[in-house]
Symmetry: D2
Subunit: 378 residues, 4 copies
């Protein structure tokens, strides 16, 4: 597995997660410790994954904030350590030419897909890349209304050429990836690969896709606590959660419509693990918290003979710093799937997601074992 | 697997855990829901375990408090639901004749073992039991100094006949169980089966043993959180814990020497799972908390590039109500092991313990899978 | 201050708070400890307040559940201690004849007021009471639209005789109290005494009124923490809160309209104390929590040179058991105000309320001092 | 109150608190916001306190770490904001000549006092200071054994000239301050002004003294919560606390002997406020927490009729950033006391301390009012 270089195409390439990912990969090259990178642990040592220093970054974004400027605000907000600026500034500057600004569309959605796919291919050729993996780290979209074209790839192909929009941006991004022979992983709970026709499109092209909605904090903890209650036959009666967060992600989720995408995704795992229980999940935008997030969960359960007990937890983390190493993991694993010729959904990536495609397994430990089995299969 | 009745011999038979167990088994017979009983979940349905209504209880204790009186104080303390008294009073009264009071010993430790074994055999004969499983639910002992006889069963057999004590009560209890052809499981972190000679004694008799130190609260949670941090390659720097509890268990653990047994046992799992980290564990006796326990844990960890984050949890539970269904589980599983002719340590019971014999697996989910594999083997 | 007996007329007389109050007063007569009763502390010993065993209870309610039945469910829910039933059953039964059921109104609002006032006077005569104090402990109402009659007592008097409703039930209750020469205190955030005309009505009759929205839990804590941050010049940036509760109160507040009354009232104190800060307050109905409530608050503040710090607290209490002694306090204090001929708002009761009438003081300690000053004035 | 400049002599002048204080005062001069400075709030505007930009810093320390180096580590640890280095570097460098290194003593304790007093006088003369206030911010000492000389100033004066040590360093520091006509405030729970003879010494010199043990976090919160429970007649049964901290302060307190000084001081207020209750206080050294501290408190209390309830809080703060503005407050207030000719204990500074001299008032709000009254007296 020598000398191959893999392109990582990020949709939302100038956001916090993307910038932390690109800066982090650079920091690793300069000797940073790979904390949070699952694929750098000993269990994955013999998997032949592409080394992180062979990853080349490019991407789309609708804003033009320079990566170095975003980096500064991440450092000021405590997401990235002081001192990293001087270390990685040159790397970020070198990535700038590979970031394409998305402008208001004047053409059909089909033309848009073709244009984005061309951007990705240009990137691959410029760097002589063996393959490209696309990952969506853009802001969460509101739920998109169903359209008949979502159910059939032929109908969809035709509808895209029409004057009306039939797909949201995240799905166009997925199709663009497939048209450029790239895999596609959705790190968010957006629509992207939810329509059957989008999934079929990937299959028709012989490409893998995965997602959705990376679990980095509260849901990560849920994915180990819920199996605990369940393994011990302790009956959970209510699970309530409040998430406080500032930053760009917080502002997006303060919109009730995008929050709906998030909540649906967050709650799926819990419901699959322990059934429907009482309790609500709140996502509050609290500006002074910046890029940091605090989640409080309160769980009411019964022990023997119905005696009521309580568990609470508080998680205080920085989402971008938790997300970035997972993006690198997913890039490496997607590259392996492409290399192995995997076609269609990648349920073995469920370890990373709140709402894993084609999988009902939400227990983190079992998901980990499943990932490791897949990695070792070859 | 019909009509067989299994004896459950409890060391510490008049304590909170034992009383809750005996009352709980009676409540189940009268239609109570088996919350917290892992062996009553669907996954164990076909395992052919002895039904809980075929369990017959007996045991040793040094106190003489009637079970019904203890029951009343457990109800008053909220450990057991109001209304249970009338339901199970008759069952508890029926158990009284099978509870043997331990008096100050005038004989050698060897004679003591023989006498206790005779008590167990009498119990088995009186009820025409197919087999007897012994479980230690007495108060935690202080660590016992090493004695040369602990390393060799022949030396031990001889030393026991001497004038000096060479073993603590919990180990004598284990030997008594083995002499009565019973299995032995230690629910506490006491010495019991720690000496090699005690384990060899079980093997010589062709009997199984297991333990130690049931995980019911804080450690249960640790056993899923630590694997989470580890699976996600998040570096844990410090894990601090404070346990507040009242009741008899609290008073025992307020003694620094017994607390030492407990802490050693509690910390083993964490250290096996994530290595040595900073932080202390406190066990405080807080009388007004009665039979309830609150644990607060505070974890400092790093995400990508060393950014420090924090997780805290609070567990508010009632130990006896969490422990009792596990005692019933262990009785049923030990009976199955006896039935299958299993000899020596039972590492497949690690799911229940902080310090599992002959096992270094501390991840709850993996322990659960291991238990289920063993159950289904036959 | 001898031999006088005071009537306590409760609107919502069969609810949890009222039942706990009536049962609690009876338990005190039978030797119960007056925990939570501020007016029973030494500082109030010489105030000449009417003794609690001279309080006689009556009231209105729209339901007919017997007090003893409500008592049983409060005991089952852990709000009242086991054993209290036998102690106070006779007292509750003796109160039943003084509880008047409110039926659907066929008459004008003015007639309604007269009828309710007559109920109160009948009660006073039957028991030969020196005076009657009315307290509203009914469910929280939704905000009521403004009507021109709310601003002028003459206009109101006329409007009440018309066919259209111009006041909500809580305001009618206040007027009924005034018509029966009783004082009126609103324990809830309902409309009741908010209209200027209702307040003027009390003044015209020479009667005192007070409220609103008793602080029993989260807001009680806020009323000491906010002054702490403020006294130490620590800048609060965000204060977020989540309240989980079941029971009847929870069900009422799950309705967004009544929650609005509650939230407006809850937030007033914080805003008066530390200005407007970021953060939301949630009130979630969590049925399995029964009569118990858990509040979690998360506060972001700055120390020197802007360094960000955090405080969190969790309050786990039972509202009825916190409210009932305050109702007794307010009954005794209202009786003293009546006795002293106090007319109009009672701002010196601010110690008890989230939204005190005619007062902007929200610091609990200062409110306490103000109450004590008033009590000692005479 | 014009043009006068006041010297602030810090014992422990190179520690975290001192460095944050000196750097913070400089930052204020350069336009920093006075968050956490009580004496900069409007209530103190007319008090005529010496402006912070007229404070001149000097002090003793046993280490020689340059202030700028300590500053860097405070910035790296998140105690001080990035960017402050360039702002205040010159100010810190300018302070260096006024910091005197304490070396191993070869002379009698009396000579030591004289020498330190001379250091202070030299500092006062060099800067032409109107007065000097001394504040002890050195590490907490272990409790010092009682010596007969502690009870009588004449005996003490003689004993100090002998070969044996009779006082700990903090008391010598107090005497040195008095010999240099400076006031003395102990910010720590060390021995310093505890001996009656030391207090008498101050009185003989006509000087004020104050302390002890500044309340910056957990105890600050206790000083408002305990009065809340007490004002509401809610019975507190148990109050448990765990404090996790790293940094130099943590290392000092990890020594059980110094922890004893701290705990005695911490618990005094609680006991004065609500009597003796169950529960322990732990102070754990957790190295990875650096200069940050987390306190968790768990309170068990009863409402009406003995129903048990619980409150928990978590305080996550940075002690140095909380302490530094208080040091500036105390310097300004001590200077006012000197100016007004106040002699002896300053109980009106109780607002700042866990264990206030000559005061049993621990309610923060009342302490605040008392401070304000004193300030406004003149």
């Amino acid at each position: 597995m020598t000398e191959r270089r893999v392109g990582v195409w990020l949709f939302g390439a100038r956001g916090s997660v993307a910038t932390t990912t690109i800066a982090g990969a650079a920091a690793l090259r300069h000797g940073g410790a790979p904390v949070g990178l699952v694929t750098e642990t000993p269990a994955f040592a013999d998997a032949g994954l592409v080394p992180t220093d062979q990853l080349v970054f490019g991407g789309h974004d609708i804003v033009e904030t320079p990566l170095t400027k975003r980096l500064e605000s991440l450092v000021a907000g405590g997401v990235l350590p002081h001192g990293i600026e001087s270390l990685v500034r040159a790397d970020l500057a070198a990535t700038e030419p590979d970031l394409v600004t998305v402008v208001d569309r004047q053409v059909s959605q089909y033309e848009q897909v073709k244009q984005w796919a061309a951007d990705i291919r240009t990137f691959a050729e410029r760097h002589d890349l063996e393959s490209v993996v696309a990952i969506n780290v853009a802001s969460t979209e509101a739920p998109y209304p169903h359209h008949p074209s979502h159910d059939d790839v032929g109908v969809l192909r035709h509808a895209l050429t029409g004057a009306d929009d039939v797909l949201p941006a995240s799905s166009l991004a997925a199709l663009a990836a497939f048209e450029a022979a790239a895999s596609y992983v959705d790190f968010t709970p957006s629509n992207s690969i939810r329509p059957a026709a989008v999934r079929q499109w990937a299959a028709d092209r012989g490409l893998p896709f995965g997602g959705q909605d990376a679990k980095t904090g509260e849901t990560l903890v849920k994915s180990v606590l819920a199996p605990m209650f369940s393994a011990r036959a302790l009956q959970v009666h209510a699970w309530s959660g409040t998430n406080l967060l500032g930053g760009g992600d917080g502002a997006t989720l303060a919109d009730p419509r995008t929050a709906q995408s998030k909540n649906t995704s967050k709650e799926r795992g819990l419901s699959d693990l322990i059934g429907d229980v009482a309790g609500e999940v709140h996502i509050d935008y609290v500006d002074p918290m910046g890029d940091w997030k605090t989640a409080w969960d309160h769980i009411v359960f019964s022990g023997f003979l119905g005696v009521r007990m309580t568990m609470q937890f508080t998680w205080q983390g920085c989402d971008s710093a938790l997300a970035a190493p997972l993006v690198l993991d997913l890039a490496r694993l997607s590259a392996a799937a492409l290399d192995r010729g995997h076609v269609g959904a990648m349920p073995f990536l469920g370890f990373y997601f709140k709402d894993p495609v084609d999988s009902t397994e939400h227990s983190l430990v079992r998901q980990y074992d499943e990932l490791l089995r897949w990695v070792r299969e070859c």
